[in-house]
Structure formats: structure tokens, C-alpha cells
Amino acid sequence: MPILEGIKKISDTIWEIPASFKEGMRVPARIYATEELMKEMDQEVLTQITNVATLPGIINYAYCMPDGHQGYGFPIGGVAAMDAKTGVISPGGIGFDINCGMRLVLTNLTYAEVKPHIKELVNALFQRVPAGVGSTGFLKISKQQFREVIAQGARWCVKEGYGWEEDLERIEENGCIGGADPSKVSEKAVDRGYNQIGTLGSGNHYLEIQVAKPEFIFDKELAHVFGITIPDQVVIMFHCGSRGFGHQVATDYLQVFLKVMDKKYGIKILDRELACAPFNSPEGQDYFAAMKGGINMSFANRQVILHRIREVFENVFHKDAKKLGMHMVYDVAHNTAKLEKYEIGGEVKELIVHRKGATRAFGPKMEGLPEIYRDVGQPVIIGGSMETGSYLLVGVKSGIQTFFSTAHGSGRTMSRTKARRVFEGRRLLRDMEDRGIYVRTTSFSGLAEEAGPAYKDIDAVITATDKAGLSKRVVKLIPIGNVKG
């Protein structure tokens, strides 16, 4: 979009839309972007982020991250912190795919060692980690057991033998957020999700084998702390969420909120996707407890997938996963709302921080970080398009400006419908293979939708993120194998 009159340039990476821009805005909105990215951003982002600024209890600003693009309700890349006492909680500020996130796993193998096996690895991963429309997982559990999973998250998996004890401390909330209440989720949500643990889903979800090339290590010391220590080290990154269970929880409560929002609480909104309820209301608390079930389901989903990945590498390299150094770096979420404490106007307040397509990025020494990263800050995993690469960053002190939130991906610029027309899946697959990226997909049309040019330039997004002080880049990771969901 052209940079409209009235949008104030605060710095090279911050653009402010004053509260006078639209009736009902309670705070200004701030878009984080370089001038280039700002010009590229679609007009709808402006409409959506200023709609967010009208929500009751919002503190400081409605933020949009550098990878921002139009979504529903909130833009993707939208961040809003609401006062827990006076503010609202909104499913539209979290997304249907509750706790969708990224996980990064190490190996002690080099590209030279993995290259001869890449097809075997990707083919086996494609077999062992189901992907695509309506896929179901290998874990056969009862609905009652599923309710335990949503209460216990990744802890349940490790207890059942799907993972290592050390995995838990490397997941936000140690893999299990407290307060998840299975009695607050519908039978329908359970029906949709209980057979989907260990599945990728589709769309932009993927599982990728990547290489940390020496020329893309931007901070050697930090890379070391995160376990990237050998030249051309191979890592595995994957992206998925809470599957049908989370989607149903969000859908259920969207409707609950629509019914009570205006009639019971007198809240008026500009887009029904922003349906909300006071955080401190029975409906708000019920959703929060159900949504936490979605958080735990996605931690469990990613935990079981990690287990399967380790099995695949063990089979291919005939070595134990521990001997292959397959430690998890971290698991980050980018579709959540969490209670966090911040000092606002000299007073410590509890805020419900909505991050929709935005990653939490805690700075050094912050509470909630695992001991191993306490001194350096939280690892931040940002997935790029399957053609261009992804990044590992770290949370920084200056992240406080956005309540320690940063970008989550490259951000789409082309619609799926158009991408399907412009790109041809089979040809794309061949082209990628020629460039050293071996891909398996459940759908060629789905693959075409994910073509690199349908996204913003990941390097530009990361540069803006780094420059704005939202998080600091550590390593760029280059794809060599991809299972496309």
C-alpha cells in the first residue's frame, strides 16, 4: 500500500497510525516494517490493526510485526496486550489454529553425511509423519485419554515414552500450560482431534531438513549456546498446531462470544471476527481454560512428531537418537494469548497478551526461560517459505517495546488462489530438486500455493525485525529436504 498521509514515521522500522485515524480506537497502532516492507503491506493490514486498537482494555498500542499480512479479525502478525482486569480476550486475536508453532531439533550430522540419505530420510518422514487433509496419527487413544492429553500436553507424551525428559524444559511453559480444563471443551472438539496427534496438517505446515552453513551464522557464540557448533550442521524444523481440536475450540467460543458480547457486556466491535468477552467473565475464563487445552494439544502433537523424527533418523543412520545429538533447541508458539506481568505506568499489571502470527521473544534473564538459555534469551524460530530458508533468532531486552513479541514467518503476499494459478506444483517440485531441495507432498496444488514468490522476502523481514530490536538474528537455515503438509 502507499504510505498514507497521517501515518507517522517514528523510526526507520516503526510506523504509527494515530488513534484519531478511526472512530473508537483506544490506542494508536504501530506497524513494524522497513519503508520497503511498509509499501508492500496490503491495505487490509491497516484496517485490521486499527480495528484491533478499538478493543477494550488494550494497552499502549496495537502492533503489527514485519511479516504482517491480512488475516481475519487481527492481521497475521498482530499483537495486543489487554489489561487482565478490564480488558477482553478474543479468539480472533489468537487464531483458529491455537498454539500453532515451530520446533527446531539438532543433529550432530553434517550436510555431507546427510546428503546421500536425503531421499530416504524425506520419504521415511513422509510415511511416518502423516500430513494433508483430514490425516490421522498412529497414536490410537480413547477420547478419555485425549482429555488427559489436553490437560497434560507434552508431559503426557514423555510419560508415555514419546520423548526425553529434557525435551520438556525446551518448550514454552515446559510443554504443559497450567489451567487447561477439559470440561470446558465440547465433545465435538474432542471428536475432531483425538485421532490427530502426531500429524502435520496442511497449508503452510511443513517438516524440513535444513543446513546451518558457516556463511549464514551471524552470531557464533549464540549459535553455540543453541547447539549449532559444527560447519554445515544439519537440523530439523517443523511447523504445525493443534489440528481440528484447536480449530473447533476457537469456532465454538467465537459463537459463544457473539451471543454475549453486545447483549451481556455491551461491547461493540468492527468485525465479527473480533468477537470477544471480558477476560474476567465466565465466558472469557471458560475460553481461556479451553484454549489452554488447545495449547497442550499442540505441544503434544509436536512432541509425538519429534519422537517419530528421531525414530526415522535412528533407522536411517543405525544409531541411537541421543548419539545423533538429536536434542531439541526449542518449541515456540505463534498463535496464543498468555498472562504476563508488565510494569505499566509505575504499576505491575497482569496483561493478557494476544499473539496471532507473532512469536513470544523473551529477553535474557526473564522468568519462564529454561536454565540453559536464561543468560542469553529465548530462542526464536521463524520459518520462511520452503524455497528460501528460515531463521533462528534470540529474544532481546529491547523486545519490551512490543511486550516481547516478534515476527513468526515471512508473511504471504500472494493469495492461495492466485498462487495455484501462477505456479505449477509438479514443475516446482522438480525445480526445487534441481536446486538441492528434495520435496514430498500430499498435494501438488497445495505445494504450488506455498511457492517462494507467494511470500515476502524472509531476509527483508528478518532485517526489519533485527533492526527494530524485536529479536536478534543468530543463524539462517537452508532447506535440503521438505515434507509439505
Partner: protein
């Protein structure tokens, strides 16, 4: 076809516009469009299973929302996609009611050319409009 996908309305999601001379036709067109997001060729779905869908809502657009949501529910809960929809809408009652008989079959990766999973129906720009030739709906699906 009584529906078309829109290129410039949603980026990460998929938007479509559906139409019908009657509300029933509009709902069927919207259901087919939603299914067509997940599978390339609706003709590939055989009518092996029958389900009955019943939904209610205070408003007509939310009735459509609930109906489409049921289709997404069956995709995950029973791995079913439908190709034929027989829809009856009761406009007179409050709340409004819909009963549909739907026919389809279980997803099969080797038989069906699947495209992309629909996570949910969003309410963003969601609307049903009366037009000269009948009804029109705009829907954005979360992918």
C-alpha cells in the same frame, strides 16, 4: 458453477463467492465450494456414506456458518467428504433451522486428489446478500 474463488480478497486463507436462486441452492453451492477447497475434483467422491446434518441459528448467515462448519467437522472426525447435499431450510421458525442429507465417502489419498485442509469458516467479511437473481454469499475459509 454457482461458486467462484476470489483471488484478491484473502492471502493466507481462501475466499469464495457462491450464489443460488434459493437459499437452499446458495447453501449447497457454498458447501460444494468448501469441499472443493479440499479436493480438486468433486466427481472423485463417491456416494458411499450418508449423514444427516441439523443446525440452528438466530440469523441466516450464522445458519450458513454452522452448516459449513459441520462439513469441516466430518472431514476431521470421520475423514468424510461429501459430494451431494440435499438441504431444507426452515425460515419461519426461531431459531432458523436446517436439515441436510449429505452423501460422500471416506478420504483416500490414493484415490482422491486432495489439496488443502480447511481449518474453519471465518466471520471475516462473511455475508449473505439478497440479489436480483436470488442470493449471494461471501465466505473466507481459514487454511
Amino acid at each position: 458453477m454457482p461458486y467462484r474463488f476470489l483471488e484478491d480478497v484473502a492471502t493466507a486463507d481462501i475466499a469464495f463467492e457462491a450464489s443460488g436462486e434459493t437459499l437452499e441452492e446458495l447453501f449447497i453451492a457454498s458447501a460444494l465450494a468448501t469441499t472443493n477447497v479440499m479436493i480438486r475434483d468433486l466427481q472423485q467422491i463417491e456416494k458411499r456414506e450418508r449423514r444427516e446434518i441439523k443446525v440452528e441459528a438466530e440469523e441466516m448467515d450464522l445458519l450458513l456458518f454452522n452448516f459449513l462448519q459441520e462439513i469441516i467437522f466430518y472431514k476431521d472426525a470421520e475423514q468424510l467428504l461429501f459430494t451431494e447435499y440435499d438441504v431444507k431450510i426452515n425460515e419461519k421458525d426461531t431459531p432458523l433451522g436446517l436439515i441436510a442429507e449429505v452423501y460422500g465417502e471416506k478420504l483416500n489419498m490414493s484415490k482422491h486428489d486432495l489439496i488443502v485442509d480447511v481449518k474453519a469458516v471465518t466471520l471475516h467479511q462473511f455475508e449473505i446478500k439478497k440479489i436480483e437473481s436470488g442470493w449471494k454469499a461471501t465466505v473466507i475459509l481459514d487454511i
